[in-house]
Symmetry: C2
Subunit: 395 residues, 2 copies
């Protein structure tokens, strides 16, 4: 008999609600017929609320990286200069995509584990008036850091520079109202906070980005945003639509918006506080000391404890699937994601597994009541103000 | 956004594995055709392992109470005398069923929360040589008590008295090998340890019970065990079969027997130790001090804390569905079930919810590390001998 249920605590894909799975299991409908138009119409209304925009939100049949590619290939022409905030693996991805488009890339590198300072973006733009766009993550999934996109948007106000944001592990997990923050392009993927399988990406442009787009010959046949926009007016997509993902999206958007986005963000904030406090009670250090993202927590391991071993043991011995570190962080951190169809109890399972496997691998365990300490923070976060930095208490 | 997943910690129905749900969702097949025969043939082989019998195990389209009725109405004729062990609500049910059949019922009443002493059964049989059957629960679901069926069977050896056992909340959760223990009739239901929805009951008779059965005119048209047996030779049922429950049973039996029954019982034992130790660490008392069943734990609440309120709050505030007490125990106990498709983490969720709601209702909470204490017992139980009474440690 199986001792452990499998619990996916990875930063995408994430667990799916039963309602979504049942929707995904429906028989096919055709993507050029009325029944599909109705689904896409309903999704579109709700996606505009999620993105905080009055502009259309395009559904694309690709992963998040596909949408990042679509943005860069549609908004810039070869030879143009962009500023990339590189603070981790996904910052690097912006660089790679921009380079593949033949753009001149100016990198603002940030130490892994830290967020970019808005002033540094401002300074770089002052020094480089020929920069046409700033490419940044909302949430840098590889380090667990949240970049101050709102503040960056404020620093960029009045400049003819596009703010292009990778919201893959951020949108639906923490606030990112596109129009209000002055974001020109926001992209996300289906397999994180949206509680869907991978395969669907979402992309929206500001009014001025659409104008820029009209002047650019798309760099890739598949990613033709003006053509997608035109089709969306009829509630269709340019190529074949990922039908069942959109059937699922209709259901997951209903769930997400049932009590308003604030309730979604509060839950994410509370799960983040739960995780951070429990980790601290174990005597461990969250890798992102401040500016942490709300969908995952990166955790620095004690010296001599191998992250790969911990991730493997958590899965094998407790059914808890965490993620390891990437590149320079490989073996040094584990990442416990709290996104998708998860609740406090799933997080306790991950925390318990983490604690035990560290002990079993020669590490230390900290306070015996680390779960209760985490839950005390969770309960407090459900009541208090969200998005504020709590004191780093050890008690 | 929904804060809590719903977790069913009730003593039936219990949560279903995805594999079983997918099996249940299959389209219909006909119950008089080859595809169904194949399913029933496979189930039958495995059910004999589960029941520990070389006799056929009959699938009946009814609840557990239906199978209890079928047993009494098939094995005894009006006016015959039976001894009922009444130690709770399901002991009472034996009495009611026997009375409805016109049997003379001799009740051996046992204080709720205690198990019957085998010597008391022996003594009652010595005093009443006209008793034709002993009706008892393996697990008395209303109190969380495990009756010593093996020892009762030993005391009855050599007597022409049928041992009829309600194994509804026991079979597949703790050992009950029918042939070895001298059980003449064993019944169970689908909605407990078998990880299925309600609606399917299973019943097996010993060789001598089949002989008795042949001399009894069935008391109810629907429950005709010899007719069922005859149909089962062709891998059919007498009336229309509950097709999808048997499709599900094939899958759940595969899961249960994958690593042998010992692994199933070990898991149940470990979850029981987890629950009892954590409850004790909270400063509470398991209602069944000894002879506790392996599929649920009954917990005595502090004075002044209303069980109905606790059950309601656990569900509403934490998504944890526990059961209250019944009849005389209403409001005084809660029952946290650890049966069906559950693991240690689901139990932690129920324990945490129980602890917090007791505090919120003016009770006490005990040690802050009650979850860790419970898990220490769980880990130890996965390694050690099972079915032994552990010391009642408070540390």
């Amino acid at each position: 008999m199986i001792l452990n249920k499998n619990r996916l605590l990875t930063p995408g894909p994430t667990p799916l609600p039963e309602e979504v799975r049942l929707a995904l299991a429906q028989d096919m409908i055709h993507h050029r017929k009325a029944a599909f138009h109705d689904i896409l119409r309903e999704c579109e209304e709700k996606l505009q609320v999620l993105f905080g925009t009055s502009q259309p939100v395009l559904p694309l049949s690709c992963s998040g990286s596909g949408a990042m590619t679509a943005a860069v290939y549609s908004l810039f022409t070869p030879g143009e200069k962009v500023l990339v905030v590189n603070a981790g693996k996904f910052g690097e991805r912006w660089t790679k995509i921009a380079a593949s488009r033949g753009l001149e890339v100016l990198e603002l590198t940030v130490e892994w584990g830290l967020a970019v300072a808005p002033e540094d973006v401002e300074h770089a733009l002052d020094e480089n008036p020929d920069v046409r766009g700033v490419l940044v993550q909302l949430s840098e999934t590889s380090t667990g850091v949240l970049h101050p996109v709102r503040e960056i948007g404020a620093k960029m106000a009045g400049r003819d520079v596009l703010l292009v944001v990778d919201g893959v592990s951020g949108v639906s997990l923490c606030p990112c109202p596109m129009d209000e923050w002055g974001i020109d392009c926001l992209v996300t993927g289906s397999q994180k906070g949206l509680m869907l399988p991978p395969g669907l990406a979402l992309l929206a442009l500001s009014e001025r980005a659409w104008k820029r787009c009209a002047d650019v010959t798309p760099g890739c046949f598949y990613f033709n945003l003006p053509a997608e926009r035109k089709k969306l007016e009829k509630f269709e997509t340019n190529f074949t639509s990922p039908v069942n993902l959109l059937q699922g999206l209709k259901v997951s958007m209903d769930m997400l918006l049932a009590d308003g986005l604030d309730a979604v963000f509060r839950k994410q904030w509370a799960l983040t506080q739960l995780t951070r406090r429990a980790v601290q009670a174990m005597g461990l250090t969250p890798f992102a000391r401040t500016n942490y993202t709300w969908g995952l927590t990166s955790i620095l391991l004690p010296d001599g404890v191998d992250g790969g071993r911990i991730v493997a043991d958590c899965a094998e011995k407790y059914g808890a699937y965490l993620a390891g570190g990437q590149d320079a962080l490989k073996g040094r951190i584990v990442r416990l994601a709290h996104m998708g169809w998860l609740d406090w109890s799933d997080i306790l399972a991950g925390l318990y597994a983490l604690n035990r496997t560290i002990i079993d691998n020669g590490g230390f365990c900290g306070a015996h009541d680390f779960l209760e300490q985490g839950m005390a923070s969770y309960r407090a976060a459900l009541e208090g103000e969200i998005g504020v930095e709590p004191p780093l208490v050890h008690d």
